[in-house]
């Protein structure tokens, strides 16, 4: 049986064929100047789709290359190089039909073999891609064995049936597999170009891409410039002709330069959103962004004995006054978090979390009660340390936490350390409580919930729970995984291996004549080709 675009997200292809490319409403008067200048906090580490690991790098890569699918402003999938796909009955074989008119920037056609080469390259131990694990996450057949060097890359579950038909085989059915294809590491690259230029292939004079833009300049730590590509299949509907990314390492400096008119978009420093919203109501924006900020609790053998008692863990979570954190410290439209998965994640049904509805006084009373049961209180204080990496915001939240815990008789020692040291300690379980943040790789709850499985490589607090593992395993093959995700969240709420603190928002200033940036996509994935500038 042929299940053409069987998945709900993909059904949109038929429903909204015009939802891709700049969707300029009729009658809009476009500005003469169609350029878009955006802000980068740091130098771009790599423009190589299979090597890049950063969100900022992805923002550039997404404009220079195009994968099988793109996301629209709502985060739904729309065709990229693939027009659609068929899924086999067992849910393991995807056959993608590639558009015949897709071209590289040097005019050659984009063929299935380019994807095969790119994915082989991603898995190849010789490439040593930091995102090789993404293929494992996508369950692509034999990915793990290839990354470990036990199998040749040719055995990876991807093959070109012909120039415009690509077949991918995965190991277990994965309902959100198509969503994962918007990630840059799966984008096609050209074998002949990489063979010719080696690691220099991403220099502006060498780079050949298949995206809506071509690279015209890349000065490390200063700027990246991109021009509209004439060979892009949807060039006729691409309005912005030039993209510029300026690296400005200081957020406040970025804001000043935005106000001076040098940028069209910049992040707002913590605490400044209310003032800017009042002053520039049509420019200051706050949109949900798929990351959760938390203190992880060390449940490993190296962790303190007291934290192995769930009553203590719950007390610590209850006593954290999230409202103070989001309303007084961050002030940027972030939401208090009482669970792990970002609230705006597609399809996610929030479980009923008891303490989320309580008042802070009720939470404090309950926390005191639980701690007393566990044998701690002002007379027998609990000594804990909190590790965090150097940053003004982390510091402010940590100091606040210290104050929240004091009335409970919990003495929190703050351990501020350099980022690499902090990370190293976390990964070696040398902490009691540790600051951590997780950002979704794709718009589906499993990107968060897989984190706390005992077999996850990220589970730094060593939370091992058989029931949780079983629920997450079951979710991989379930027709509708959402109730299982809700169940998994309830287990986290019962066991409290973390203190969720807040869920992110992307807080930015956006020039008022810039339109077409995503507003409903929690991943904040954007494409230059969707943007346009209206006449003022």
């Amino acid at each position: 049986m042929k299940l053409t675009t069987a998945l709900s997200a993909l059904a949109l292809f038929v429903a909204a064929p015009a939802a891709f490319a700049a969707n300029v409403p009729e009658g809009t008067k476009l500005a003469e100047n169609q350029t878009y200048t955006f802000w980068l906090l740091d130098a771009i580490k790599s423009l190589d789709p299979q090597i890049n690991t950063d969100v900022e790098g992805s923002d550039i890569v997404r404009n220079l290359f195009e994968g099988l699918y793109n996301e629209d402003g709502n985060g739904d999938l729309v065709p990229g190089v693939a027009l659609d796909h068929d899924l086999s009955d067992d849910g393991l074989t995807y056959t993608f039909h590639l558009r015949p008119d897709a071209e590289w920037s040097d005019g050659k056609p984009v063929v299935a073999g380019d994807f095969v080469y790119a994915w082989h390259r991603l898995a190849d131990p010789a490439t040593a891609s930091e995102y090789a694990w993404y293929l494992q996450l996508m369950q692509v057949k034999n990915a793990t064995a290839i990354v470990e060097g036990d199998m040749p890359v040719e055995d990876l579950g991807i093959k070109a049936i012909d120039d415009h038909t690509l077949e991918v085989t995965i190991e277990t059915p994965l309902p959100y597999f198509p969503q994962m294809l918007t990630h840059g590491s799966t984008f096609p690259v050209r074998e002949d170009v990489i063979a010719e230029y080696g690691s220099n292939w991403t220099k502006p004079e060498n780079l050949v891409g298949n995206g809506a833009y071509t690279l015209s300049k890349h000065i490390l730590g200063e700027r990246v410039e991109m021009d509209k590509s004439d060979t892009y299949w949807d060039a006729d509907n691409t309005v912005i002709t030039h993209l510029t990314a300026l690296t400005i390492n200081d957020v406040n400096q970025g804001l000043t330069r935005y106000l001076a008119g040098e940028l069209d978009r910049v992040d707002i420093p913590a605490g400044q959103y209310p003032r800017l919203k009042e002053q520039y109501p049509d420019q200051a924006t706050s949109l949900p962004f798929s990351c959760t900020y938390t203190y992880l609790i060390n449940l490993s053998e190296k962790g303190p004995e007291a934290l192995k008692d769930v009553r203590v863990r719950k007390a610590l979570s209850y006593a954290m006054n999230r409202d103070v954190v989001v309303d007084n410290i961050l002030q940027g439209g972030q939401k208090p978090a009482y669970n792990w998965t970002h609230w705006a994640t597609a399809g996610f049904e929030m479980p009923d979390i008891d303490y989320a509805h309580w008042s802070q006084k009720e939470r404090m009373d309950k926390a005191k009660e639980l701690l007393a049961e566990a044998g701690y209180g002002p007379d027998n204080p609990l000594e804990l340390t909190l590790n965090y990496n150097s940053s003004e915001d982390h510091k402010k939240i940590a100091i606040a936490a210290q104050q929240f815990y004091r009335p409970l008789g919990v003495n929190l020692t703050l351990n501020n350390m350099e980022w690499k040291v902090h990370t190293d300690r976390m990964q070696n379980q040398d902490f009691d409580l540790g600051r951590y943040a997780w950002c979704g790789d794709y718009n589906e709850a499993s990107t968060y919930l897989d984190f706390f499985t005992s077999y996850s490589g990220h589970n730094q607090g060593h939370f091992y729970n058989d029931e949780y593992d079983a629920v997450m395993k079951e979710s991989k093959t379930a027709e509708d995984p959402q109730p299982l995700y809700t169940k998994a969240e309830s287990i986290l709420n019962e066991e409290m291996p973390l203190i969720p603190i807040y869920q992110y928002a992307k807080v930015s200033m956006i020039a008022k004549d810039i339109k077409g940036l995503p507003t409903q996509n929690v991943m904040q994935t954007w494409y230059g080709k969707d943007i346009y500038r209206v006449a003022q």
């Binding site: 090597i51 793990t144 690499k420």
Partner: protein, 307 residues
């Protein structure tokens, strides 16, 4: 003189080697590595990375192949973090930027500092002296991370005269704020050193003699006082010059110049061993060279010094 120079150059080589070995060991002693990420990688992926960048080899072997790469091919290796680039690329892009704004800052600092210091000394205890001392103390205590944002607010946001950051070699309007931010504190130091040394010289015997034989005041100062008074300034200028042309992390951050100063600090924080070594060697070699250069200038300024 030639023997002296050759001797100093001969000492420079083991000095640099020691610098390389010590920096290498210190860097590897710091917790975490270039591939330590908040998002932990599976061990097999990490193993592939370590193998690709040679981090799986014993430390002595890593040091040896690193030094050999420099000696044999002048190759400082690939960056561990900016993976599309080699260390040579990064230095070739960032160093000319800092060399430009650092070099201009140096000229500004020396000219303004020496003039300010000399005038203050000559007009000792007058209003001009107090004014000059006031400026130099003010410039010294105003840190550049305070000055940089103020400059951008004034010249970019309010007046709209200058670009708020970025870098163009062919457009000096991009240089002005970095130069102001970098040169002021050096100018202040130079002015203070110059002032006190000039005061000392003005009270010395040969100046009294020059005045006694009836030379006009300006000739006494320019012909007899300025040159010996410069001696302490010159010894300060060697290391200051190197510090300026290798950039300032503050200037690079606030003005987004893409210079080497930021790359240096980033490489330490990112544990980008290769870039950090490359910049350390660059700074080390320049320091050794310019200290030698200063020693040679000494001989020219002060006839009492002979090599």
């Amino acid at each position: 003189m030639l023997v002296f120079i050759l001797k100093r150059l001969a000492i420079a080589i083991p000095t640099l080697l020691l610098l390389i070995v010590f920096s290498f060991l210190l860097m590897h002693a710091a917790p975490g590595g270039p591939f330590t990420q908040e998002r932990q990688m599976p061990p097999e992926v990490l193993a592939n990375l370590n193998a690709k960048y040679g981090l799986d080899q014993p430390l002595w072997q890593q040091i040896w192949s690193y030094i050999w790469g420099i000696v044999a091919h002048f190759d400082f290796g690939p960056s561990f973090v900016y993976k599309d680039r080699s260390v040579n690329d990064i230095i070739a892009q960032g160093f000319p930027v800092t060399l430009t704004y650092g070099g201009v800052s140096f000229l500004v600092a020396v000219l303004a500092g020496v003039t300010l210091g000399a005038v203050a000394a000559v007009k000792h205890n007058t209003i001009i002296d107090y004014f000059a001392v006031g400026i130099s103390i003010g410039a010294q205590v105003l840190p550049n991370f305070v000055m940089a944002p103020i400059l951008v607010i004034v010249f970019t946001l309010i007046l709209g005269w200058l670009p708020g950051g970025g870098w163009r070699f062919n457009d000096p309007s991009y240089w002005i704020m970095p130069v102001i931010a970098l040169s002021t504190s050096y100018m202040a130091s130079i002015a203070r050193i110059m002032r006190s040394s000039m005061l000392e010289v003005l009270n010395s015997n040969h100046i009294r003699t020059a005045r006694a034989k009836g030379l006009p005041g300006y000739r006494v100062i320019i012909r007899h006082a300025l040159k010996p008074a410069l001696l302490p300034v010159v010894s300060y200028l060697g290391p200051a010059f190197v510090a300026m042309i290798t950039g300032s992390v503050i200037v690079d951050i606030y003005f987004s110049t893409g210079g080497i100063g930021k790359a240096f600090v980033d490489s330490a924080l990112n544990r980008d061993y290769a870039v950090m070594m490359g910049v350390t060697i660059l700074v080390g070699a320049l320091t050794i060279f310019f200290n030698l250069f200063v020693d040679i200038i000494y001989g020219w300024i002060d006839p009492k010094i002979r090599y």
